[in-house]
Every structure is written in structure tokens, then in C-alpha cells.
Symmetry: C2
Subunit: 168 residues, 2 copies
């Protein structure tokens, strides 16, 4: 017999970390489904986006900008390189590699533009445009880890997500 | 030479999924540090909370309540049982197990109360009390994955969720 029972979640539904995690999983689930035909995961999309917009950055710069651990980043880049989406070239200082999209990588990113747009529209449909702005501002406040007055001033805080700010 | 360069993050800082993930990692980082002395991860804390408040639930009920895949849940529970924090007892229908905290598990949960409270206070300090209420309501809207009007009905933060407020 399948017993129907109301489950007491206690304090969980009001704990920021719990709700954040549930929401992040829900959003990623939609992302996975949308990007599965391209075999692209969220972190890969972020890396490709940074390389696309900033050709020639070093591995360390990209990893830091995204808050990805260097060891994990090397593995991610190996995979992108193996799939001919990104490539490492010797940097000027000879001690590091500069990152670039390949032609395939650039073509893929063009194909992904409408996919990410549609995904984001589905997410915005859950909270509304205003809700999205407020949500991003609140989340940015958490990423920055600063008292709220610093984050809530203009209601929007994309600038607060400066590279490296979450690293400290 | 360490080249200082402003990195263009493109659309990432305004994508709900990207900011959610960064925020979730920031919150979990604080959680990990706070709970390290007890060797408790966020998902374990959630499971122990549900079992504490709902003794006798089946594995399936707890896993579903938390959105954890059954296979992953079995491994988690094995570990909690091995550490004598939770235990499985044969359920009435003999086909499943009912879950309970052990005395050690109950004692641990009492010790964790101030730890989770302090962690949550640090998170709230980033967004303020009102910000927390709004954040939880917005995130819940995403978890529920319903158009916003439908989600607002059962929201937790009445002030932020008034019909006719900035939400609509």
C-alpha cells in the first residue's frame, strides 16, 4: 500500500542553501535537456563563452574568472580540445597557453545562441523579468559575500560579478 | 608577467543558471567549512533533518521529498548507517525499510542546530532579512517551475508576494 503522507521539511524550505541547491538543480535539468543534442554542459558553455569573448586569455585567467579549480579546468579544456572546439596556443611568455576557439567552436557557439536564449526564457517565465533582475541582484550579493547595502542600491548588479570577486 | 586584464563575461552574469550556480557554490563553501568538524555535507544534513522530523518514513519517501535519485540515496544512507547516525528498520509492509535516527544521530542534530543557525545568519547578512524572504520566494518559483502567477500563491514571503506588487 502506498502510504500518502505529508512530509515535514522542517527548516529546509527557508534555508537559503537548500532552496538555492534545489533551484540550481532545476535550472541545470532544463539546461541539460536543451543542450544534450550538442553534448554541452553548463560549465563548458561558460568556458566557451569566456574564450569566445576574450580570445588569448591564459588557462589561469579563464579558470579564475569562472571560479573553477585549476585541476578541474585542465581536464575540461582537454575535452574541449579533443573535440576540436577550443585550442591552446603557446603564450608570449612561453610558460603558459593562450586559449582560442577553433572554427568549429565558433560555429557551435553561433548555433547555441538561440538554445541558451530559449532556456533563459523558460527560466524567466518562472519569476518574471523583474523577478529575474531581483533574483540576479540577490544572488550576486551572495556571491560577493558583502553586506546587502552594497548590493541592493540599484536593484541590478551584473557589474558586481567582477572576475575574481568571488575568489576572495 | 602577470597581465591584468578585464575579462568580458558576456551574458553570463545575467543568466539565472550561471549566477545560481556561483551563489550555490559560495553558500556550500561556507557550509562545508562550518560543518567540516562534524563531517556532514549539505545533502546529509537534509536527510538527517527529514528523518528527525518524520521518523518512520521509507527510503523512497525521503528521497522523493528531497529530490535525490534513489540510487544516490541508498549510498548516502549506507554511510549514515555505518556512522551510526541513522538506521533502517523493516517497515510494516516488509518490502521496504523505515528510517530512524539513532541516539547518536539525534545527539548530533542537537549539536548542529547552532551551526546551521550561524551559517544561515552569515548568508542572510549578504542579502538582509527581506532579501532572504524575496530570494527564497523567487527560488521556490523556479523549483516549482510554474508560471509566476501560479507560484506566487503558495509563496512564503507575503510582503514580497502581494498581488499587484512589483511581481506582477
Amino acid at each position: 500500500m502506498n502510504e500518502r503522507r505529508t512530509i515535514d521539511l522542517g527548516p529546509l524550505p527557508e534555508l537559503i542553501g537548500y532552496v538555492l541547491r534545489r533551484a540550481q538543480l532545476a535550472v541545470f535539468q532544463d539546461f541539460f535537456a536543451a543542450f544534450a543534442p550538442f553534448d554541452i554542459r553548463p560549465a563548458q558553455f561558460s568556458v566557451l563563452t569566456i574564450i569566445e569573448r576574450n580570445p588569448g586569455l591564459t588557462q589561469t585567467q579563464v579558470a579564475e574568472a569562472l571560479g573553477i579549480k585549476r585541476t578541474n579546468f585542465v581536464g575540461m579544456l582537454d575535452e574541449l580540445e579533443k573535440r576540436s572546439l577550443a585550442e591552446r596556443r603557446q603564450a608570449r611568455d612561453k610558460r603558459s597557453y593562450a586559449l582560442y576557439l577553433t572554427a568549429d567552436g565558433a560555429a557551435l557557439m553561433r548555433r547555441l545562441k538561440p538554445v541558451i536564449k530559449a532556456h533563459e526564457s523558460r527560466m524567466i517565465a518562472c519569476v518574471g523579468e523583474d523577478g529575474r533582475d531581483r533574483l540576479v541582484a540577490l544572488l550576486t550579493g551572495i556571491v560577493d559575500g558583502k553586506p546587502r547595502r552594497a548590493t541592493l542600491k540599484n536593484g541590478k548588479a551584473p557589474r558586481a560579478l567582477r572576475p575574481g570577486s568571488a575568489e576572495t
